[in-house]
């Protein structure tokens, strides 16, 4: 017997013209739906997200086909991937039929759906359909029975579920009916290659004529459902099928954690930041439409986890609703200032989002509007901190003339005294003024002198890098501070900088580029690793047990997760990871300028993190960020577990083990 099947069996070729007619109508509806959206996206400001299209396309195809972003969260990621691959194969299989019947046969008389290829085709499609149905069942159980916390279900979700389920089930029923008539007895050898179809065929009762009747009517129903699905795509959550892969194409190709540097000299600029929909970029609006409300961002958000008003998912949904309401809609009012000030810019949401939505720049953009256009602050303490930055160039309001006092008695000299240093140590505000972090800086100096590195500093010529001010939305103050620092770097011809703080490292190394500083900037963790690797620094491995807290700005913003672990292992440490670690780490609560603000809403983020550290049972939590060290120590005090847990900086651990 031949291994193939008669296409349009039973329905007849007369069905083809109306089928294409309906298809055209469905495709037209889809195109119209997206066309209408285009006007909404276009209400945003211009932004280049298309240059380098070849790389973008390759990335988009890879991320989408490999389900890379979805699989970051194995459950339900694997099921989503299973469904995606299954549904993709079914769609491709259907398309192959069209290719054969309406192109290759008509043009060249070529039929390829036969023989071994057809057997394989049958088997693959059959299993793909099975996978799609099973994963859909898992989704059904999860969404409607298990109901994970925070997952919101709307009519749209129900409709999408029902439609997909209906298409898959009718597909198998059609196959079963056809096989019952044409293969079950006539060609059992071929029927084996459609195991699910075979099963359905065996279960379907009735005479061949009745089955043919069932087949014919189901064929039309299935077709309408499938075309209905196509037409429905832009109007419901299924739009993500199209929008998310395209968003991969549009995603930011610049360095991690990039932010738009505002052109403050622009005489024509009327507004700064975004208060209204049309002050966002088109990409921001597009992003909001690509969100599938999967709540992964919300699950990762430290502010949400500790009972604050902020949920990154809600922020994106608020923006979407605002965008649909019109270009002049007030987005700050929709998101609320309370939610906006609660963000630590930890980037957990953005890192985990399967739709590649960029949350943090939107939040900062709205903060910019509040700060630059209205002179608003996140509370009196925020006003005081900004005032201190302006006058004293540090958030503590301490005279900046004392900025080098931490180094009194150490061998480190200012570049003004001795410009011949190998590397500039940019201590930052905390290591310069905060007692706990001053001690860390001193230990790092010990490490450098042991390794024979000549370190210079700027002393009172150093100013805050501007990061907290910038993340609080004060781009003007940031650029003033940054400008002064860059001038000073230029004066001394600074080429390489090592920082105590991951926030300084990211700001100096990434954001200062936009303002004209191109030197190399590393965090002390990476610097120590380099010294060890090059053999300049030798450590005695003294055993100790610890857990490691990844700071957001080292892990998610700078991609540094391996180096600290390697250094601490070389120091003799045995690490027990917290559940949230690496680029999935849980913020200490100090980022985004939050370290300078009071945390009045909900519980303390730092306490939550300390609980996670405590759960490892280790007596020490090692970090390498001044904000983290401060916040963790606060958290330890607040959680009343000073006897059980100590917070230390990596440099302190290393300095105790110099060989």
């Amino acid at each position: 017997m031949e291994a193939t099947r008669e296409i349009y069996w039973n329905v007849g070729r007369g069905a083809i013209p109306p089928m294409y007619g309906f298809f055209a109508a469905a495709a037209g509806a889809m195109a119209y739906g997206f066309y209408k959206k285009l006007a909404v996206y276009r209400s945003g400001k211009a932004l280049d997200r298309v240059s380098g299209p070849a790389d973008r396309l390759a990335r988009a195809v890879y991320w989408a086909l490999a389900q890379l972003k979805v699989l970051r969260n194995p459950f339900p990621g694997l099921f989503h991937a299973g469904f995606f691959w299954g549904f993709l194969l079914l769609t491709a299989g259907t398309a192959l039929i069209m290719v054969q019947e309406d192109f290759t046969v008509r043009l060249f008389g070529l039929r390829f759906l036969q023989g071994d290829f057809y057997r394989g085709y049958s088997l693959v499609l059959d299993l793909a359909g099975l996978a799609a149905i099973l994963t859909l069942l898992v989704f059904f159980v999860r969404r409607f029975l298990y109901r994970p916390k925070g997952l919101e279900t709307t009519a749209d979700d129900c409709l999408a579920h029902a439609l997909l389920f209906f298409i898959l089930v009718t597909g198998f029923l059609i196959e079963g009916a056809r096989m019952a008539v044409t293969e079950l007895h006539a060609n059992p050898e071929l029927a084996r290659f459609s195991p699910v179809g075979l099963l359905v065929a065996g279960l379907l009762p009735g005479s061949p004529a009745a089955l043919e009747g069932l087949h014919k009517s189901l064929w039309w129903v299935h077709m309408f459902a499938a075309f209905g699905f196509i037409a429905f795509v832009p109007f419901g959550k299924l739009r993500h099928l199209f929008l998310i892969p395209v968003n991969y194409f549009f995603s930011d190709t610049g360095p991690l954690g990039g932010l738009k540097t505002l052109d403050l000299a622009d005489e024509n600029a009327q507004t700064f930041g975004a208060e209204k929909v049309n002050e966002l970029s088109w990409k921001d609006i597009y992003d909001s439409d690509a969100c599938v409300s999967c709540k992964r961002c919300q699950d990762e958000c430290p502010a949400y986890a500790t009972g604050k008003t902020l949920s990154p998912m809600k922020v994106i949904q608020d923006l979407r609703r605002s965008a649909l309401a019109g270009p002049g809609t007030d987005i700050v009012a929709a998101v609320t200032d309370k939610a906006l000030w609660a963000c630590t810019t930890c980037r957990a949401c953005q890192t985990t989002c399967p739709a590649a939505i960029e949350h943090v720049p939107k939040i900062v953009e709205m903060r910019r509007s509040m700060t630059l256009m209205k002179g608003e602050f996140a509370g009196e303490e925020g006003r005081a901190a900004i005032g201190s930055f302006e006058v004293n160039k540090n958030p503590f309001g301490l005279p900046n003339a004392g900025r080098a006092d931490w180094a009194a008695g150490l061998s480190v000299r200012t570049l003004a005294e001795d410009p011949s240093a190998d590397v500039l140590y940019f201590a930052g505000c905390y290591a310069s003024f905060d007692r706990r972090n001053k001690a860390v800086a001193a230990r790092f100096m010990e490490i450098c002198s042991k390794a024979g590195v000549k370190v210079g500093m700027l002393g009172k010529e150093e100013q805050c890098c501007g990061e907290p001010a910038r993340k609080l939305g004060n781009e003007y103050l940031y650029q003033e501070l940054a400008g002064e620092n860059i001038k000073t770097f230029g004066k001394y011809g600074v080429k390489k900088i090592v920082t105590a703080c991951p926030h300084c490292r990211h700001t100096l190394g990434v954001h200062y580029r936009d303002l004209g500083f191109g030197g190399e900037v590393v965090h002390h963790t990476v610097f120590i690793k380099e010294l060890i690797d090059s053999g300049r620094l030798k450590l005695k491995a003294l055993p100790f047990e610890f857990t490691y807290h990844d700071s957001c700005y080292l892990s998610r913003y700078s991609g540094v997760t391996e180096e600290p672990r390697a250094v601490l292992a070389a120091a003799g440490g045995s690490l027990a990871e917290m559940e949230r670690c690496g680029d999935n780490s849980f913020c200490c609560g100090g980022g985004g300028g939050r370290a300078l603000l009071e945390e009045k809403e909900g519980t303390k983020i730092s306490v939550e993190r300390v609980k996670m550290a405590r759960a490892t049972g280790r007596p020490v939590v090692v970090s390498n960020c001044p904000f983290c060290l401060t916040m963790l120590e606060d958290g330890i005090k607040a959680a009343d577990c000073e006897a059980a847990l100590k917070a230390r900086d990596l440099a302190e651990v290393v300095a105790e083990r110099l060989a």
């Binding site: 403050l264 004293n392 309001g397 005279p399």
Partner: protein
């Protein structure tokens, strides 16, 4: 309505002060400067008044070295229309009488209806400029205002008196009002206003042409208080109040709470 606000730039009060070479005032090396806090209230109140009447005009004036231009720029960004700088590198050697006469020399020609200034400067703290200025110009004067309103040409000000008592004073314009903490919350200049301020006029006037008054009092010597090893006992009140007092003392007299 023509409004004038007089401001001073002062060093950040958390600084470590050292006498200058002559021992006559503090050395400005390593100091950070900012607008006198009370003058910020004055600017805010003046801007609020100016905003009520688009036909009015608000000028800001400062006497002092080149650095005071920064404070003038901030006042412009907060909403003053134009600035007047009276450059004087040695303004610190002038006594309040001389400074007030310089300002009066300018204000006389300006036809001002109301003049706002801080109730005192945070560095010298003489609190004399306002009353002296009012006397020289023949204006009414209200000091230490913590509330202000204007009805026609009558100003009503709430004043803070000794021991926390309050009083309400009515004064006919023209008037000098000196401003105290509690009057308002000074606005933070928005970026568009900072940009606009960059284009506003800063007129430079000659101090000698405005006044040639001689000093009535001179500053003899500037020195740190002699350290006395006296103890201090905090008594009375509940534990929280005592702890609050202790923190205040530590903040004021020591550096232990400064990191």
């Amino acid at each position: 309505m023509k409004i004038l606000v007089c401001i001073k730039q002062i060093p950040d009060m958390a600084s470590k002060f050292k006498p200058n070479a002559a021992g006559s005032w503090f050395s400005e090396a390593d100091l950070a400067f900012r607008m006198n806090e009370y003058d910020e209230y004055a600017v805010e109140e003046a801007v609020k008044l100016r905003e009520k009447d688009p036909a009015s005009e608000l000028a800001v004036l400062s006497v002092g070295p080149a650095r005071v231009v920064e404070a003038l720029k901030k006042a412009l960004a907060m909403g003053c229309d134009r600035a007047v700088h009276v450059p004087d590198e040695e303004a610190y050697r002038k006594d309040p009488w001389q400074i007030a006469s310089i300002i009066a020399g300018y204000a006389k020609k300006g036809n001002f209806d109301i003049i706002f200034t801080g109730m005192q400067s945070q560095d010298r703290g003489s609190a004399q400029i306002g009353p002296l200025l009012a006397g020289m110009l023949g204006f009414s004067c209200v000091t230490t205002a913590i509330g202000f309103s204007l009805e026609g040409r009558t100003a009503t000000a709430k004043r803070e008196l000794e021991g926390g008592a309050k009083g309400v004073v009515k004064a006919a314009l023209p008037a000098v009002i000196t401003c105290q903490l509690g009057l308002n919350t000074p606005r933070y200049p928005t970026l568009p206003n900072i940009m606009k301020a960059k284009k506003k006029e800063i007129a430079v006037l000659n101090a000698a042409e405005l006044s040639s008054e001689a000093a009535l009092a001179g500053t003899e010597k500037f020195y740190a208080p002699v350290k006395k090893g006296t103890g201090l006992v905090l008594e009375g009140g509940d534990a929280a109040a005592l702890a609050g007092k202790l923190i205040d003392v530590l903040k004021e007299k020591t550096t232990v709470l400064r990191g």
